[in-house]
Symmetry: C3
Subunit: 280 residues, 3 copies
């Protein structure tokens, strides 16, 4: 099963690199540059457009849509809805990143509506955000996970069961990222133990992952393979980036190294470094 | 007095690192990524939200609010007012960065109203911007200081007197940055002689400082200590970043080194390198 | 003629460095930070402002206006029109970057109107975008050039003729960038063979070039010299940045190196590395 997980991720990466998917992102202005560069690092192409009058044409020529609610406003909400409507009609994969769901009513409500009304394919967030959308979270700490929600070895089976249940209810693939990532569809849940703590010390690691998930969703055979490929790729890239850190380096250098690692990320590296297991 | 200034700054940095304040920023989209990474570098957490319908919830869960008018628009002005109103009610510290005040009527008016109507704690800008809000500036050069307004050894006593007077009138702490920074409350003014000329060759050095000032204001005992801690920290980080510059490096590398220096910045470094004196 | 092209570019760079032009940019939020840092790298100063109520004052104190439609919305379109109107009145040079023209009706229409109604000085885009504005393109691939539109040695004379014709019709200087760049006014077309393929693997290489073109337009004797200076400078900087790439580096490092190369770019480097020829 570990071998299968590695193989899925490595094949999914190859598919992105060979297909050069065009990914329409409506994403927050904090990390949008990193999202664009992360997509380019994997040989995909980004296009950003959030104006309701523009998104219909733009999403039509793309291969996937990524919705990230990190800096929501009334205008971009309208753009997200119009784009999601069009992408659903065209059967394009849609990735939803509910940044800060649970931290404000507007975020929770907007993400919930996007999830309920349109054909979201993959839901990617931290455990607090995913729980907030399920109506089961006490609170989030801004855009960070609530410590009480962290997946550990002790509660991994429980997290996996929650992820499968959410996937079944919402008819999506769920990717819940943290120190241990959980990726699940209705029937199968995988734990991914890649990544570096430094990813939490830059802004945008989660947003970049969601953007990449759009590229994987456009290229992989199934949404589960796409989510697994994206999560493993980002985790392995995080480790490779961390391994380049030298004296004097900090989160500025780590951000650069992370893009570099994505740029150079190979099938062979995923086979060597991926740590994936199915959680029954 | 120099020792006292160092001690204040170093203690303030320790407070940020141990308290991990959550800082709500309504800031311009030019340098917002740098602001987020600067906060993460000091173990603080950023959250960006500018939609009026979102800010009430967001600012309530934060420890400080930073308002930066670098790319104002009608929607974000409404967001700033709503957030400032809520933060005032909750007695959260508010930092105002009047980017480009004096360069347009909208900027001058918006910053003046924010300063007059809400409980701004710390006002951080260059001398032209601070003078524009006091109604005494001839003009600013866009977002840069007017050469006629630069604080030098020759006019330092005058700048300090102006800063103390402004602090008294507006009931804020004032941090006026430049080659020599002046930080003052109604009674005391300090000169800080840290920093590198390279900080003027990247975008965002001032914005990052204002964002960090929010983290310091959430953590320090007094607003004066917070402003002094932030100004000294950014100045020393700028020097440390400049010391890493090698042949071929330019402002791209300097930007990375500056974040790295903030990431690694320590109490001991502030004690070694801070150059602070009270100006009587 | 090759010597003349080098001399034009090198003199134009010197003019930017000595005049420190203030450049008003209304540009997309994806690459706006890179645009600001690119301008600062060449000793120019950026100011970003897109609110209709703000742009009149801001553009009045600037030396050039850059309009980039990469993330258009209704509010920024109004800002672009107001700024262009004011800049035209003041006879400030205006650079238009029609990002994604051809990819959506909103983009094509907005860029066409800006081109038709205001005194645009320099039009800078890829061949698909420029053709879309001329009404002759089949389609664009998002923000990337359509492979059918790429300028090669085989069709260079044709591209040059098209560029001259467009320059004549629209009364602008045209800078069409790609593997071979074509810069033309109504009478003369130049081919520039500088640059690195890595520029296509970061977001913002084109946007940065357009921002820099604003600085050159504010400083050079003629719009043709400005466009040639900007295109050659970015191309040579791209090559110098690529030459610093080491094992493990990717597009994260390349982005940093590109800013660094602009920061250090000299008259002598342009004389050594520029590859410019007139295309008759």
């Amino acid at each position: 099963m570990a071998e299968q997980g590695k193989e899925i991720a490595a094949s999914a990466l190859d598919a992105v690199r060979s297909q050069h998917p065009l990914v329409h992102c409506i994403t927050n202005y904090v990390t949008v540059n990193d999202c664009a560069n992360a997509l380019l690092a994997l040989d995909a192409s980004p296009i950003m457009s959030d104006e309701a009058a523009d998104v219909d044409d733009i999403t039509s020529i793309c291969n996937a849509l990524v919705l990230n609610i990190g800096t929501l406003n009334e205008a971009t909400i309208a753009g997200m809805r119009a784009a999601a409507d069009r992408a659903s009609t065209l059967d394009h994969p849609i990735v939803l990143d509910p940044v800060g769901a649970g931290a404000s009513k507007l975020r929770t409500k907007t993400a919930s509506q996007l999830l309920d009304r349109y054909g979201v394919t993959i839901l990617r967030g931290n455990m607090s955000e995913i729980k907030a959308l399920a109506g089961t979270a006490a609170s989030t700490r801004g855009v960070d996970v609530n410590p009480a929600d962290v997946t550990t070895d002790d509660n991994l089976a429980e997290s996996a069961a929650f992820a499968r249940a959410r996937a079944r209810q919402a008819q999506v693939v769920v990717a819940i990222t943290g120190a241990i990532d959980v990726v699940a569809d209705a029937n199968h849940a995988f734990a991914v133990r890649n990544g570096s703590a430094l990813q939490g010390r830059i802004t945008g690691a989660g947003c970049m992952l969601s953007a990449l998930t759009g590229a994987f969703a456009a290229s992989a055979d199934t949404p589960l393979q796409a989510a697994l490929g994206a999560v493993v790729s980002m985790g392995v890239a995080g480790e490779l980036a961390a391994s380049r850190m030298q004296e004097g380096d900090g989160n500025g250098s780590f951000r650069t190294y992370l893009l570099d690692a994505l740029f150079n990320l190979s099938n062979a590296q995923l086979h060597s470094f991926a740590r994936v297991e199915e959680v029954l």
